[in-house]
């Protein structure tokens, strides 16, 4: 099978040699921490999305907090596919060959003494976690993958496979908005109009926010944000940070917003977050950061701001897929701006997001 693998400072090569077979006790993933699963299955992958993190991996800029050093490794973590085989101990009532699934790529240790793993909603912060496509040998940019069934979420028949590949980033944004405790009537400012920011806009509206503004770069992304129903869109090439703050305060009667979601992760977005948040408000960080920012802790104290963090997802996929199946999100496929075959992953996929970033939202790879 074709597998896209990450080699340090080289272009990914085709590797036909690795094709895992199923066993009763299949050893899976994570050279640092091998976990033995009793039940696994194999699926074929349909679509895999490219994430900003994949760009960072490719260019070698992703923080070691999120990766292991063992190379080569598979990449791609936003994927959907079809079950083609079940391991011997898989629950055959719940799972069947031919089912379409969206994969939740974070693999937690599930040891009995791990506090994070003791609850399904905190497995994402397991200190020993691995992730398909980030810190494991396997990734979604391959024809086949073997996974634990708990990580496979069945897609209802009215949710196409292509939308299934969007469940991962949608779940990231869902968890961020949910943990911010956005409630009906709230005001939200989203910094960054990439996929996570746009999804956060959609989710904030689903959660009943009455004013959701977003700042972004480039006409296309800003137009898209406007089309997706943002209350205000700030094109950062045309408007300064100070003006974004001034507009936000004007729109919120001088109070500031209930929640700021930082999807960009830079010094200036953190500075803006502190100014835009109301007294007692929440800043939700959903971004990976290239540098540690300086933070004005006296403003944080004086305004009693809560700075929260949302990393990936845990226990979020079921309600996200349910919301999609219920039609609470309209025209998600409109966010897919490019579809590219696996062979062209680097040449067309990554390059598009590097050099034409402002023209694209979600790029999907056809496997």
């Amino acid at each position: 099978m074709f597998v896209s693998r990450r080699y340090l400072n080289q272009s990914p090569a085709r590797d036909k040699s690795r094709s895992r077979s199923l066993g009763e006790h299949d050893q899976v993933i994570g050279r640092a921490h091998s976990v033995v699963w009793g039940k696994t299955y194999r699926q074929s992958i349909y679509r895999c999305g490219i994430c900003g993190t994949d760009l960072s991996i490719y260019y070698g800029t992703l923080s070691e907090t999120f990766t292991s050093q063992h190379l080569p490794r598979g990449i791609g973590h936003e994927f959907s596919g079809t079950i083609i085989a079940l391991g011997p101990k898989v629950d055959a009532i719940k799972y069947a060959v031919g089912q379409n699934v969206a994969i939740e790529p974070i693999i937690a240790c599930r040891q009995s003494d791990c506090t994070a793993c003791s609850s399904p909603t905190t497995r994402n912060i397991c200190p020993r976690k691995n992730c398909f496509g980030l810190s494991s040998p396997s990734g979604g940019l391959s024809e086949y993958v073997v996974v634990d069934p708990e990580l496979a979420h069945i897609l209802p028949s009215n949710v196409p496979l292509e939308i299934g590949a969007l469940m991962e980033p949608l779940a990231v944004s869902w968890r961020a908005i949910k943990k911010s405790q956005v409630k009906p009537g709230d005001s939200v400012l989203i910094l960054g109009a990439g996929p996570i920011g746009i999804f956060a806009l959609e989710v904030a509206k689903v959660f009943g926010a009455s004013w959701v503004a977003i700042s972004g770069r480039g006409t296309k992304r800003c137009d898209l944000a406007r089309q997706r129903g943002a209350s205000a869109v700030y094109n950062i090439s045309l408007i300064s940070d100070e003006d974004i703050i001034a507009e936000t305060l004007k729109a919120t009667g001088g109070r500031g917003v209930d929640v700021v979601v930082d999807c960009a992760g830079r010094q200036n977005t953190l500075d803006m977050s502190l100014k835009a948040t109301r007294l007692g408000g929440t800043i939700m960080n959903a971004a990976c950061w290239e540098e540690s920012p300086a933070i004005d802790m006296n403003v944080m104290l004086a305004k009693e701001i809560v700075l929260k963090n949302s990393f990936g997802y845990a226990g979020d996929h079921p309600e996200v897929i349910e919301a999609v199946a219920q039609g609470r999100f309209v025209n998600l496929e409109g966010l897919v701006t490019l579809r590219v075959p696996l062979d062209d992953f680097v040449g067309k996929g990554l390059r598009a997001l590097t050099h034409e970033k402002d023209k694209h939202m979600k790029v999907l790879i056809r496997i």
């Binding site: 905190t122 960080n285 802790m297 104290l301 004086a302 963090n309």
Partner: protein
């Protein structure tokens, strides 16, 4: 009356000014004791100028005070308040509706470092008869500490690492004990503060700088079965305490900042992200005064008077009070001023 007035950085004078008059819904209090806070030092040294200059200078300072009601203004509920009652005062007139925070003894007319002060009737809490007035002046910092742990959602059985063994650090330790903490680690500077915080309930005390930051983190992991502390409270506010806090807190745990900061720190946001750390901030009371006074009245806090290490008359506020906390900081916990 005599009052300590802030004219500018390092320019506080105790002067004679007219007595304040209780207006509608206000009461006039004869101040008994007023404690000095780290933020008062900040004001004195010009570090909190933004907050102070909301009012024209000079302003009265002092916000940790107790006293006796001597006058009720028009409209005050005479069923609730009466002349002669001993009271503690909530200094924070704080509204989410308006963008500014008004705080007695920081940005309002009149502070507790004066013979008399006028406050809103809603800000006054009656002290039960058996709580002496000097303990009454500790109610404010005790309530700050109580609310900080409440806000951190601290619950019985939780573990807490307290960074800083000054007045707030020690009070956080006492409140954590009352809340049923399973483990209270404290880092502190100076032999006196370290032994005092051990007496007041710390499970273990890390004397800095002899114990390194890495050791504090390692010991915290050891004490919490490798998970990290449920809550870390930063009472010191430095780059080093923030770094320790982010490492020592468990995944999903809360770092609670109650400190004022001399410099902006850098924050390892990727570590915060991977652990889904909640960084919270608390400086208010959250309406906890009645609960706190009740807990003190029931004897849940022992040896509170042992935290008062110096009592100074108002006229010597700067020379003895502020200087003690500046130059002999490690020898002191709470300094109380009496007008």
């Amino acid at each position: 009356m005599k009052a300590a007035l802030f004219y500018g950085p390092e320019n506080v004078r105790v002067e004679d000014i007219p007595d304040p008059v209780a207006g509608p819904n206000q009461v006039k209090i004869k101040v008994a004791w007023c404690g000095i806070c780290g933020s008062d030092l900040g004001i004195y040294y010009g570090m909190l100028s933004d907050v102070i200059t909301q009012r024209p200078l000079p302003v009265g300072i002092g916000h940790e005070f107790s006293g006796t009601i001597v006058e009720l203004g028009p409209g005050v509920d005479a069923n609730k308040l009466a002349i002669g009652q001993n009271v503690a005062v909530s200094s924070n007139v704080y509204s989410l509706e308006t963008p500014s925070t008004r705080m007695q003894g920081v940005s309002c007319d009149g502070g507790g470092l004066s013979e008399y002060v006028v406050v809103e009737q809603d800000a006054v809490y009656i002290l039960p008869a058996h709580i002496p007035l000097d303990i009454g002046a500790l109610i404010e910092p005790l309530t700050v500490s109580w609310h900080a742990l409440e806000k951190a959602q601290f619950k019985a059985g939780d573990s807490v690492l307290v960074l800083g063994a000054g007045p707030i650090g020690i009070l956080i330790v006492k409140v954590a004990k009352v809340f049923g903490a399973s483990w209270i680690g404290v880092s502190g500077r100076g032999a006196k503060r370290c032994s005092l915080v051990r007496e007041h309930g710390a499970s273990v005390v890390y004397a800095v700088p002899e114990v390194t930051d890495d050791e504090i983190v390692a010991e915290t992991f050891k004490a919490t079965k490798g998970n990290g502390a449920d809550v870390v409270v930063d009472c010191a506010g430095t780059q080093s305490t923030l770094d320790v806090a982010l490492k020592a807190v468990r995944p999903g745990g809360t770092v609670m900042n109650v400190a004022g900061w001399k410099k902006f720190p850098e924050m390892n946001m990727n570590l915060c992200l991977a652990k889904e750390i909640v960084l919270s901030n608390s400086l208010g009371y959250g309406g906890a005064h009645p609960e706190v006074i009740e807990a003190v009245a029931q004897g849940k806090f022992d040896k509170l008077d042992a935290l008062v290490t110096l009592r100074v008359p108002l006229t010597e506020f700067v020379e003895k009070g502020l200087r003690a906390l500046t130059h002999e900081k490690d020898q002191h916990v709470k300094v109380l001023i009496h007008p």
